[in-house]
């Protein structure tokens, strides 16, 4: 019974079926499966599988994103119970990610956020055109392990530096690792502005985040 429900959760995510994911989550609660168990061996297992396949070019981005949505749908059922039992979901790390002030590009940043999530990171996607102070506020509030800064314009690249400087001034320089990306950025630019890493695509960004979590700079 338990294993078939867990299997259904995994399948619902792989199929990107939001309704099925919700229903299976309800079934899990009815069957008294611990919500963490339902996530770890059900929903998250499915997302991980899709994420791995995406990294190999075996599934499409739309399937990866739908899997994430299905996982979120299931989580919405399970989360209240998790909060009630005062347990914590284990993740690879917490990431705050956004596009810097003056820049309203979202696509690349959203792909990176999705793939990080699929690989087991907790991701707080704060959106686009985010002022430096708002990044600092998010870092103070969420205490992420990693801050991701995206910039698609040559003119907004200096904002990445501004955020890094502001994080340092706020005393979070040692607590959060900063990774940057976006079409006009380069590894050399990341080094120049004191970022901890640069990635040119989503798969490299995930690998970079994993390295940063292991305490290695790029």
């Amino acid at each position: 019974m338990v294993s078939s429900i867990l299997e259904e959760l995994r399948e619902a995510v792989i199929e990107g079926d939001l309704d099925r994911s919700k229903n299976a989550s309800k079934k899990a609660m009815d069957a008294n499966i611990h919500p963490l168990e339902a996530i770890t061996n059900g929903l998250a297992k499915g997302v991980k599988e899709i994420g791995d396949k995406f990294s190999k070019g075996e599934v499409f981005l739309v399937e990866l994103i739908m899997a994430g949505e299905a996982m979120r749908a299931g989580m919405s059922i399970l989360l209240p119970k998790i909060k009630a039992t005062k347990t914590e979901i284990k993740t690879l790390g917490k990431v705050v990610i956004g596009t810097v002030k003056g820049d309203i590009h979202s696509i690349g940043k959203d792909i990176v956020a999705t793939l990080l999530e699929a690989n087991g990171f907790e991701v707080i996607n704060v959106g686009e055109d985010i002022p430096t102070e708002a990044f600092v506020k998010n870092v103070v509030e969420h205490e992420p392990d990693i801050l991701g800064l995206s910039s698609l314009l040559t003119t907004t690249m200096p904002m990445q530096k501004e955020v890094i400087d502001a994080i340092r001034t706020a005393g979070f320089g040692d607590k959060v690792r900063v990774m940057i990306g976006g079409a006009p950025t380069t590894k050399e630019w990341a080094d120049e502005i004191g970022a901890d890493g640069w990635a040119g695509d989503a798969v490299s960004a995930v690998n970079l985040a994993k390295r940063l979590m292991a305490g290695n700079r790029s």
Partner: protein
């Protein structure tokens, strides 16, 4: 030569695009632009910064948009009339990295790379006007646009498009263009000594900085291209027809705004839209879908009577290889056969979807584009070219290498009829081996070195150059 859509389909696409403009509208992060559109008759939501534009504004704007754009050059013999029925080709735009010609290593691009790519663009007969092929990484950001502009003006006699990244930089670049044109008065009369280019932020958005610069173009009537950058299945619908509909709405918002501010400002209506590769989450410019998007857009541009400017020929391959060659060829050819007025990115000296410049690829693409232009030129049919008399003179006994009239005939028409590639190998195997059994990449590298050593352009007037440098120095000082 290639018509993708039927009349009904063109009409359906137009109607759908107008529906998007009227119902969903365009977000412009620019209060003044919203105000202008609002006063003209658009419905503006100031809080969301969205303008919903009715069709009649589009019709009025399209009517004011010139059907032709004369791009002027330092050497007037190199002037080109965009919209005259021919497809004009440009080189590529904006590589941050370059594969070093000597070491073969990928490194950051330099100002010297920009100079060399501009010089090569001046030399290659396939490049009709020149884009900033390189965004140098060794130049201070506050004088980047100005320094790039001077470098390009110095290295070419053909028409140059200028870089437009920031309003301040663009204003300096306009000042420098005035100097090139022979003063402000002369520039105001003939601002098409330069042109600029802008993209939106799909879906359906424009940033403040871009609109600032577009208004500056409208003020001086500087020609520019407005190119949707939608990526089908990410920032545009997965259906190509849907992405085209969205792109038309995006482009037309700028046409309307521009013609309200500066009626008669020449606009090239463009697209650098393509698909997102769903397997890797990357842009796929070398895809056949890219060519189809151009072919459809060309028909819509011509339905509106606006010249079409399409980024066709971009290469996703990481090196100058067979993939790079096929990607470059299929889309540049498709856009040309479909009648693009400008095939931007045709002579493509970049690999990796616009990221890394590659000298060898540039020379290879020059041959690809030479072949495409030959195809576009077609076959001349006249009493003379039908050659009945020569065929009779040669008869059955002789051939075209042994009959004197035939030889004269060949000599007379050879260069018109047969295109001469620069580095393509058509020699015999024995000859090819004698010359070192080199593949096209190696031959390209050697040819590029040869051109860079030998090709000279008429230097800029010393006084003109000095006054341009003053602008750069003034900006550098002000910011320090």
């Amino acid at each position: 030569m290639f018509e993708l859509l039927g009349r009904d389909e063109i009409h359906a696409i137009h109607v759908a695009a107008m529906e998007v403009l009227e119902k969903t509208g365009i977000m412009l992060q620019h209060d003044k632009a919203l105000q202008i559109l609002g006063q003209a008759g658009a419905t503006v939501d100031e809080k969301r910064k969205v303008a919903k534009i009715p069709e009649y504004l589009v019709r009025e704007a399209v009517k004011k948009t010139p059907r032709k754009v004369l791009l002027r050059s330092r050497d007037p013999k190199r002037n080109i009339l965009i919209g005259d029925g021919k497809s004009y080709f440009t080189n590529a735009f904006g590589a941050h990295y370059t594969i070093d010609l000597e070491t073969g290593q990928r490194r950051l691009s330099t100002l010297e790379d920009l100079e060399r790519f501009t010089l090569l663009s001046d030399y290659f007969p396939t490049v009709d006007y020149i884009k900033p092929n390189i965004i140098p990484q060794d130049v201070a950001k506050n004088v980047l646009e100005q320094t790039m502009t001077l470098s390009m003006f110095k290295s070419a006699e053909k028409h140059c498009s200028v870089i437009s990244l920031t309003l301040d930089g663009f204003k300096d670049v306009i000042r420098m263009s005035m100097i090139l044109a022979g003063g402000e008065e002369e520039f105001i009369k003939n601002p098409s000594i330069v042109d600029a280019g802008f993209n939106n932020v799909p879906p359906l958005k424009y940033s403040e900085g871009i609109i600032d610069m577009i208004l500056e173009c409208a003020r001086y009537k500087i020609p520019f291209d407005i190119s949707t950058g939608a990526l089908a299945s990410a920032s545009g619908p997965v259906t190509l027809a849907g992405t085209i509909v969205q792109g038309i709405a995006e482009n037309h918002a700028v046409v309307v705004l521009t013609q309200l501010v500066g009626a008669g400002t020449p606009i090239m209506w463009g697209s650098c839209a393509t698909i997102l590769d769903q397997r890797y989450g990357t842009t796929a410019y070398g895809s056949p879908e890219n060519g189809l998007i151009h072919a459809a857009f060309i028909q819509l541009a011509h339905y509106y009577g606006i010249p079409y400017y399409g980024a066709a020929g971009v290469v996703d391959s990481k090196v100058a290889d067979a993939q790079a060659a096929y990607e470059n060829a299929i889309n540049a050819l498709t856009a040309t056969l479909a009648g693009a007025d400008v095939v931007h990115d045709a002579v493509y000296g970049i690999v990796e979807s616009g990221v890394t410049a590659c000298y060898e690829q540039f020379a290879i693409s020059n041959d690809i584009c030479g072949a495409i232009k030959r195809i576009a030129k077609g076959i001349r049919v006249s009493r003379e070219t039908l050659a009945v008399e020569i065929i009779e003179a040669v008869g059955h006994e002789k051939n075209y290498l042994t009959n004197l009239d035939a030889l004269k005939f060949t000599k007379r028409h050879l260069l018109e009829e047969q295109w001469q590639p620069l580095i393509t190998d058509r020699s015999s195997r024995a000859e090819w081996e004698k010359r070192g059994s080199k593949d096209i990449v190696e031959r390209a590298r050697e040819k590029v070195k040869e051109i860079l050593a030998a090709h000279k352009v008429e230097p800029l007037d010393k006084d003109i150059e000095a006054r341009m440098r003053e602008i750069i120095e003034k900006r550098a000082k002000r910011d320090n």
